[in-house]
């Protein structure tokens, strides 16, 4: 009671003043909001992707925005980049709130289905004009960009996923580089790994904490052994339509087992991510090569190894299971942009995405060392003669003939099961046979 009375006095003495302060604060807040909404009369288009840290994309988009704003007075484009690993933390709440960004990227794979099914993406096939259609060319048919024959995502950059090595380090170890477009076999990598280890280096830097670093290489190994190419056998296996107990899947698992057990990459790799640790250590020349790298890093490559006069970086595809394995590449699009179906500025958003697919935009991407997805709309010879030697090789690699491996699947749980199995195999707690058995069971293969 005494306490209550004291509290009562306290509130009566200070409460009156506090109340006035609180009231004044609320009025000031209201005035600020009203004033800012009056001042902010321009239309804002929000563009969001996960390309944080990729200079080529950042610089190209700065130019796109400049051009778009000049062509559309009163329109402001706000471009925000997230990192790959944190992007969905932003995108999920933004879209589920119904007020997501006007233009946004979606991870290729299961996410595309989820976002389309949730009704967030504009069907670009229904909206695009003939000019845009011509610019896109065959890209309209890339599976990861759409569903059921409709295009939902506009491709931005393209890449070949591969291995990069330092030429001088390979020479120091006494090995010869394979012909351009060819690659070393698993056994050759084992030898390179041993020679590198003797010099206190790693054969390959590897960041399997990012699951695609494991799964995409696996897909490539499988496709090298795929007797029914171009049938997507891995897709069929994920769907439980064919057995996992086949040499092509076993060989792929054994290739990983051999590389890991031979110490081609350090054991510590199992707790390393690709984009920060593996890449950083490769930049520091702790490893001869970097596994599962891609052309998207051309603009971030160490400049001292990619000058106008000399190129000390060499690209090659994933290790070959055997010397007669056919050339097999992982070629795909990187960031793909979609337009929010709930955007109040849908037309402007579409116009911005169209601009990013224009021949001018493709040249801009190329100018910053980023391989544009719409290569059909640009002069390839002109592109491949740029002063950026690494970029030129990237273009050449993308144009190299060979098998192309699908890397974007929609079976999230099945992919998780395979990834977990391979990681456990690296740790020595499961065997190839157990993974095969588990995958057959998990995918529901009934024989």
């Amino acid at each position: 009671m005494l306490l209550n009375l004291r509290l009562y006095r306290l509130i009566n003495i200070y409460g009156g003043k506090m109340f006035k302060h609180f009231r004044n604060f609320l009025i000031a807040l209201l005035l600020t909001f009203s004033f800012s909404s009056i001042v902010r009369s321009e239309t804002v288009i929000n563009v969001v992707d996960w390309q944080g840290g990729v200079d080529g994309i950042t610089n190209a988009y700065a130019d796109f925005i400049k051009k778009f704003e000049a062509e559309n007075p009163g329109v402001k484009v706000e471009y925000t980049q997230y990192t790959v690993t944190t992007y969905n933390e932003y995108l999920k709440p933004a879209l589920s709130s119904g007020h997501g960004p006007d233009v946004f990227a979606v991870y290729p794979g299961p996410d595309v289905d989820e976002v389309i099914n949730a009704g967030h993406l504009v069907n670009l096939s229904a909206e695009m004009d003939d000019e845009w259609r011509t610019w896109l060319g065959n890209n309209i048919n890339i599976p990861e960009l759409g569903r059921n024959g409709n295009l939902y995502m506009a491709p931005q950059d393209a890449f070949t996923e591969e291995i990069w090595v330092y030429k001088d380090m390979i020479a120091d170890l006494g090995f010869e580089l394979p012909a351009f477009g060819d690659s070393y076999t698993v056994d050759e990598w084992v030898e390179i790994g041993k020679a590198a280890k003797a010099k206190g280096l790693d054969g390959l830097m590897f960041g399997p904490v990012e699951s695609w670093c494991v799964l995409d290489g696996f897909a490539n190994f499988v496709n090298q052994q795929n007797a029914d190419y171009p049938t997507d056998v891995l897709g069929l296996a994920y769907d439980g339509e064919i057995s996992w107990d086949q040499p092509m899947f076993r060989d792929a698992l054994n290739a990983y087992k051999t590389l890991h057990e031979a110490g081609v990459w350090r054991k510590d790799s199992l707790s390393m991510d690709y984009q920060v640790q593996a890449w950083g250590k490769w930049i520091d020349r702790e490893g001869v090569g970097i596994y599962c790298n891609g052309d998207w890093f051309i603009s971030s490559a160490p400049p001292e190894h990619n000058t106008a006069d000399s190129l000390n970086i060499y690209m090659m595809s994933y290790p070959k299971i055997s010397a007669d394995s056919p050339a097999t590449y992982n070629k795909a699009t990187g960031t793909n942009l979609g337009v929010n179906a709930n955007s109040p500025n849908k037309d402007l958003a579409l116009a911005f995405v169209k601009l990013t697919n224009s021949p001018w935009a493709s040249s801009t991407f190329a100018g910053y060392g980023q391989i544009p997805a719409n290569l059909a709309a640009v002069n390839m010879d002109e592109l491949a003669a740029s002063p950026n030697l690494l970029f030129n090789d990237g273009i050449k690699m993308l144009a190299t003939e060979g098998r192309n491996t699908n890397i974007y699947y929609t079976q999230a749980e099945e992919m998780k099961a395979l990834y977990d199995g391979i990681m456990e195999m690296f740790l020595g707690v499961t065997t190839v046979d157990e993974i095969i058995e588990k995958m057959n069971k998990f995918t529901g293969f009934s024989g």
Binding site: I11, N88, P93, S97, N117, K267, L427
Partner: protein
């Protein structure tokens, strides 16, 4: 008698805090609980589109990595509640009664990691534990500390203890300063040795402080995420996953399963664990008080 005006004013002043608590704690908490019975990827505008009953719980029940995460969470909580609190108690007693010259400096140094962001602490320790890191350089080894499943959780516990021990120590130190020193003087007169004084007087008198430290560490232990995520991201192969990091993996991770409904059911299990322990504590404390 409290007037109506006073009551209205009280409610008025309570309202902002209550509103924030409701909007940012209660409503999301309840939504998460409800979501655990739905299939939700995180992208849909209609969160409660597809009711799946207990399917999400069944899924995690059959997932061996969930059990690894649960076991690791309890191990982490054990480390935080017993090891961290125990070491903090020993250190605080040592510093307080040791009465040595630089005790203030030592306390400050020990408290220093608490003010660092767990992310930066994690990054620094990751550098230490790497195969080409500081620890191997000192020991002359080529050991892969963070990729060895039998020790990875203990390394995480060590880092967490290193970071937060200073926090417990400061609380203990405050407890020690409020001790009735006359009891120790009386014990001196009675001829008690130092271990009798510590274990029969100081430690029992510090019991309320110990309980406070344990509860703080227990709650922090169940919520642990950042240190695990930065050091190992739950790896290798989910073997250092705790419930909070597994929840994140299921809900948001790039290349993860993308199932927020399942993530919500993991969140519900974390909540159930904390609630159970809190209830047990209340019952036990009530019995002790009675």
């Amino acid at each position: 008698m409290i007037s109506k005006k006073f009551q209205i004013k009280t409610i008025f002043y309570l309202f902002p805090a209550l509103f924030i608590f409701l909007v940012f704690n209660v409503i999301p908490g309840l939504s998460s609980l409800v979501l655990s019975f739905f299939e939700f990827s995180g992208f849909e505008t209609n969160l409660f589109r597809k009711f799946v009953g207990f399917e999400n719980f069944v899924k995690i029940y059959h997932d061996k990595y969930f059990w690894i995460a649960l076991k690791n969470t309890f191990l982490f909580v054990f480390g935080a509640v017993f090891i961290q609190t125990g070491i903090a108690l020993m250190l605080s007693v040592f510093i307080f009664f040791g009465n040595f010259k630089y005790s203030v400096l030592v306390r400050s140094i020990m408290f220093f990691p608490c003010v660092l962001a767990p992310v930066s602490v994690g990054l620094v320790w990751k550098k230490i534990f790497e195969q080409d890191g500081v620890l191997n350089a000192i020991l002359g080894l080529d050991f892969s500390w963070l990729s060895t499943i039998s020790i990875v959780m203990w390394l995480i516990i060590t880092v967490n203890t290193w970071q937060w021990i200073g926090y417990n120590l400061v609380i203990y130190y405050a407890g020690l300063q409020s001790l009735n020193i006359e009891l120790l003087e009386a014990a001196d007169i009675d001829g008690a040795n130092w271990s009798q004084k510590i274990f029969s007087i100081v430690v029992p008198l510090l019991w309320p402080t110990t309980i406070l430290n344990m509860i703080l560490n227990l709650i922090g232990g169940f919520r642990a995420f950042d240190i695990v995520y930065v050091l190992t991201r739950g790896g290798p192969a989910h073997y250092s996953e705790v419930l909070a990091s597994y929840l994140y993996y299921y809900s948001f991770a790039a290349g993860g399963p993308n199932k927020m409904g399942v993530g919500s059911s993991v969140a519900f299990i974390i909540f159930a664990c904390i609630l159970t322990i809190a209830l047990v504590r209340i019952i036990v404390m009530r019995k002790i008080t009675n």
